[in-house]
């Protein structure tokens, strides 16, 4: 049995239909990440799950207990759902000190003073804000406030923890440390986490599963790497990848019983028909930037292109290459040293491409058996 189950959730704000038939199952101990463009309904889903917002339609079951039923207009209060939420806007209490903010949840549970103090201080310590415990939220920096919000949520060690962009205002170093802290919590207490983030690295490294939202719908729920490597839908493909995936209009042509050709700006590729569910004529080919291989000399199967821009970003460099009409992004480790306007030869790593039906937007290629097993290694 799954720990949390959403079924057919629909939510309207006045006329606006913001959640459309959201269904989702989350197992105990899952680290589920919600990924999706701004305004797609992530926060709303969390709020509905927490019982702060009431859906018009759909069921929510937590730990085998029905906690909300839209049709029946039954909604268990937040407290009965045994979860905790880090609000996107922190929602710290301005009239309480940091300590009081964090201890509030424990005090409700009638523990003794000393224990409360210890636990509050230990979680403040973990979030590196113990020094600020007697300050009021208005006397803290943005990132410090955000950490208070996290501390307040984790101090009660809830079974289910919802986090709405909890690390967005923290610096990279702290973010890594906080991620580790959350991971630890996840493992040690087997807390089930539902996590909203816009940071793909965060999503990829932290989660056991990712749900990609778009315009109030869930497009794909999958393990991180699978999602990354085999986006199920063009929209998902557009959204994941850093920097963005390359999209090429392509056409397919069956060339033999076992092979077919894909024709695109990257030239002619020959693929096995095993690789694909079915052959469509008009397709979209996606190549991840890191799977676009650049060489300074022509190679077998490569096409030529012109370097348009080189954007070093510290650990890696993004190179914009014009290839016919389209600009393709390639990514290399380290500081790339291509000169602008020089000619280079590019070729797609065949393992890094995906094929989509141009009309329905659904992926056509299959996930290879071997790969699918491989991927399990990392989870």
């Amino acid at each position: 049995m799954s720990l949390i189950k959403l079924e057919g959730i629909n939510k309207y704000f006045d006329k606006h239909h913001v959640l459309k038939d959201i269904s989702l199952e989350i197992e105990e101990g899952d680290f589920m990440t919600f990924l999706g463009p701004s305004g797609c309904g992530k926060t709303t889903t969390l709020r509905i799950l927490a019982g702060l917002e009431h859906q018009e339609e759909g069921l929510i079951v937590i730990s085998d207990k029905l906690v909300a039923d839209g049709q029946a207009q039954f909604f268990a209060p937040p407290a009965e759902r045994h979860l905790n939420l880090v609000f996107q806007n922190y929602a710290l209490w301005p009239h309480m000190t940091v300590f009081e903010n964090v201890s509030f949840g424990l005090e409700g549970r009638k523990r003794n003073k000393k224990e409360i103090r210890e636990r509050v201080e230990s979680s403040l310590e973990k979030l590196q804000i113990l020094a600020y415990k007697d300050r009021y939220p208005s006397e803290l920096s943005g990132g410090q406030q955000q950490r208070v919000a996290i501390a307040r949520a984790i101090v009660t060690e809830p079974k289910i923890l919802l986090l709405d962009e909890p690390l967005s205002n923290l610096d990279a170093k702290l973010r890594v440390e906080m991620r580790a802290e959350l991971k630890r919590l996840h493992h040690e207490l087997r807390t089930t986490m539902i996590y909203v983030t816009h940071d793909q690295v965060e999503a990829m490294t932290m989660s056991t599963k990712i749900a990609v939202f778009s315009e109030g719908r869930i497009l794909q729920v999958d393990k991180p790497i699978q999602l990354y490597q085999y986006p199920a839908h063009l929209t998902v493909a557009e959204f994941v990848g850093n920097p963005a995936n390359n999209f090429l209009d392509a056409t397919c042509r069956e060339s033999s019983k076992t092979t077919f050709h894909i024709h695109s700006a990257l030239g002619e590729m020959v693929m096995s028909t095993d690789w694909i569910e079915r052959i469509e004529k008009d397709v979209v080919l996606t190549v991840r930037p890191e799977d676009l291989l650049i060489s300074r000399t022509p190679q077998k199967g490569s096409v030529s292109g012109t370097v348009r821009a080189v954007l070093p970003a510290g650990p890696e460099t993004t190179i914009h290459i014009q290839c016919g009409e389209t600009i393709l992004l390639a990514k290399e480790m380290g500081v790339g040293t291509y000169l602008p306007d020089s000619t280079v030869y590019i070729k797609a790593n065949l393992e890094g491409i995906n094929l989509y039906d141009r009309t329905s937007g659904l992926r056509l290629n299959k996930i290879p058996e071997q790969k699918a097993q491989d991927l399990n290694v990392y989870v």
């Binding site: 702060l52 929602a91 301005p94 208005s138």
Partner: protein
């Protein structure tokens, strides 16, 4: 870098001075202080001085310095009946009324602002009604129900129904005084807390609920502390209103000789023991000052009550579910009874030939529309036929409207300074000073104003005899309500909202009118309404200053009441209530105010 040297050549002090002088906050704060010093501190100074002067009637040399008045009150042979006991009564009344008003007004405010209760507008209306009536009306209504045979002259409704006399404690003294005052003044709590609750970001409560706190605990630990500024303001207003109220304790307290400081003060004034009156007055003022001091303590220096912040989050209403029906019935029923009963009694009376006998054959329109009939009330014509009525309505409207508008704006500006500069001396001084007029007895206050403005002084022209002075004294007298309400809202507005406009290049005026004012629109309206109501009912404050051609509705009513023409007075009272209601509707339509909604969409 020429420009640099320019500033360096000026000293730090000069720059600081320039900064202080050019900063509108300082300027406004200075003007406010000046205004308050002249209009409040100066009169109070006079009262203080006179409280140390020999009374003319005490036989000594009038005007010479003495502490006898103080000794007499504090340590004389009659201190106990004159001062300590009444003070104890006053304080316990004030405290009980405040607590009950808090429960009643706060509960209703919560119901209206925080739940999905359906009849919010009706409740708002019903909560305003009792405040519109003069306080004796409520006391009178109480009497007609609970009167027992102690006074004589027939018992009340309670007796007619149950055939037992209500005990004295239920009919007179502490209990009825507290209850009727509560019904009169819980409006402060209701309005201030409604506004404050409407401005509380729902997510602040939600986060407590998620942490597993029960509704009660959430309210106790989060909601209430968050609106401390509003609560303490409402508390102070209610407490001092109860402390200063004379008519209710006089009406309900005298039969069992239950005196309060206000009755004693009134007694001193009636018997023209000016110094003694002023000593009592100073005592009341000290209680005020103490309250404000505690208020400042409660608000603290560092804590923030900014619930209106730059990141807005969703509004969420608490579902009443199965409680909806019982709550609806009890609230609408209870409130309806409380608000409507006195009004109905009043209305019925105005149609009854003899005062307290209700029956169909007594029905008459005489008191409203009648022509002169020497057999009735010495030939007094009906209220609506009285030539003075319409000029009185005109004057009352003019005074109430102007005074309420001015005071409302001033209240917000003062409140702004009080909250922005709560750690500074000027902010605290303004908070204190703007509060003090509340407990100065109307006649003493207006007498001093009479002297101050009788002849031109300084830059002020002689205002005596003009309507301007009446408006001015009303404004000053109502400043406490205005400033307290204003401050409580201003505490809730996050600093960054004003800063955002500041960096956009908006000057103070624009910031205030475009950001602060709209954010506190409901408060503005609340203050306006509260002030409009109390100014339009004002009598003892202005009676010394009013001229015959400036007669107002209360002066007209005073004439009726003084002649013993109760029915006429009631009819007039109803007209006043009508005017207030019409004003309420027009103002809320024009201002697009919906009390029951929060800020923004």
């Amino acid at each position: 870098m020429r420009s640099i040297s320019r500033y360096h050549s000026r000293s730090r002090v000069v720059n600081k001075l320039i900064r202080i002088l050019t900063n509108p906050i300082h300027l406004i704060s200075a003007l406010a202080l000046l205004f308050l010093t002249y209009m409040v501190a100066f009169p109070i100074g006079q009262i203080l001085i006179e409280s140390f002067q020999e009374d003319a009637r005490s036989g000594g040399a009038a005007g010479s310095f003495t502490v006898a008045n103080w000794m007499n009150v504090f340590a004389g042979s009659i201190s106990e009946p004159l001062f300590y006991k009444p003070l104890l009564h006053s304080l316990s009344i004030g405290l009980s009324v405040s607590v009950l008003s808090f429960l009643l007004g706060g509960g209703l405010a919560w119901l209206v602002m925080r739940t999905d209760f359906r009849y919010k507008k009706s409740v708002t209306m019903l909560a305003l009604l009792p405040y519109m009536l003069p306080s004796w009306v409520m006391a009178f209504a109480w009497m007609s129900v609970f009167k027992n045979d102690r006074i004589g002259g027939g018992q009340g409704l309670f007796y007619s129904v149950f055939q037992v006399s209500p005990p004295d404690w239920l009919a007179y003294g502490f209990v009825p005084i507290v209850l009727t005052m509560t019904l009169n003044y819980f409006t402060f709590f209701f309005l201030l807390l409604s506004v404050a609750l409407g401005a509380v970001n729902a997510s602040l409560e939600e986060s407590a609920r998620i942490l597993g706190a029960s509704s009660a605990r959430t309210i106790r630990k989060i909601t209430l502390p968050l609106i401390i500024p509003a609560i303490s303001s409402a508390f102070i207003l209610t407490f001092s209103k109860a402390l200063g109220s004379f008519s209710v304790p006089a009406f309900l307290g005298l039969p069992t000789k239950y005196y309060t400081i206000a009755t004693m003060l009134h007694s001193s004034i009636q018997n023209r023991m000016i110094s003694e009156a002023y000593v009592l007055c100073i005592v009341l003022l000290m209680v005020c000052a103490l309250l404000i001091f505690f208020n400042q303590k409660a608000i603290g220096k560092r804590r923030s009550f900014a619930t209106i912040t730059g990141k807005d989050s969703r509004k969420h209403l608490y579902p009443l579910k199965k409680w909806h029906r019982p709550i609806t019935w009890s609230v609408l029923g209870g409130m309806g009874a409380v608000s409507a009963v006195p009004l109905i009694i009043l209305t019925l009376q105005s149609f009854m030939m003899t005062n307290s006998q209700f029956s169909l054959d007594q029905f008459t329109l005489h008191f409203w529309l009648g022509d002169s009939n020497p057999a009735i009330a010495s030939g007094e014509v009906g209220v609506l036929k009285n030539d003075a009525l319409f000029s009185a309505i005109g004057n009352s409207l003019k005074i109430a409207f102007t005074a309420a508008s001015i005071a409302a704006i001033m209240g917000l500006v003062f409140g702004y300074i009080v909250s922005k500069r709560r750690n500074r001396l000027d902010g605290r001084a303004i908070e204190q000073l703007s509060y003090l007029p509340y407990l100065i007895p109307g006649i003493a206050f207006s007498a001093i104003y009479l002297s101050m403005f009788a002849t031109p002084s300084w830059f002020m022209p002689s205002l005596y005899g003009t309507i301007t002075l009446i408006i001015l004294i009303c404004v000053v007298n109502e400043l406490p309500i205005a400033t307290r309400s204003g401050a409580s809202t201003m505490h809730q507005i996050g600093g960054e909202l004003e800063e955002a406009a500041y960096v956009q290049g908006a000057n103070w005026g624009r910031r205030f009118t475009r950001i602060m004012l709209p954010l506190s629109k409901k408060t503005l309206f609340t203050i306006f309404l509260l002030l409009f109501i109390s100014v339009i009912k004002e009598l003892d404050l202005i009676i010394l200053l009013i001229t015959p051609e400036n007669g107002t509705l209360p002066t007209l009513m005073f004439k009726y009441a003084e002649s013993g023409f109760q029915q006429y007075a009631n009819a007039l009272m109803l007209i006043i209530v009508g005017i207030i209601l019409i004003t309420y509707f027009i103002a809320s339509k024009l201002g697009k105010i919906d009390f029951t909604k929060g800020i923004g969409g």
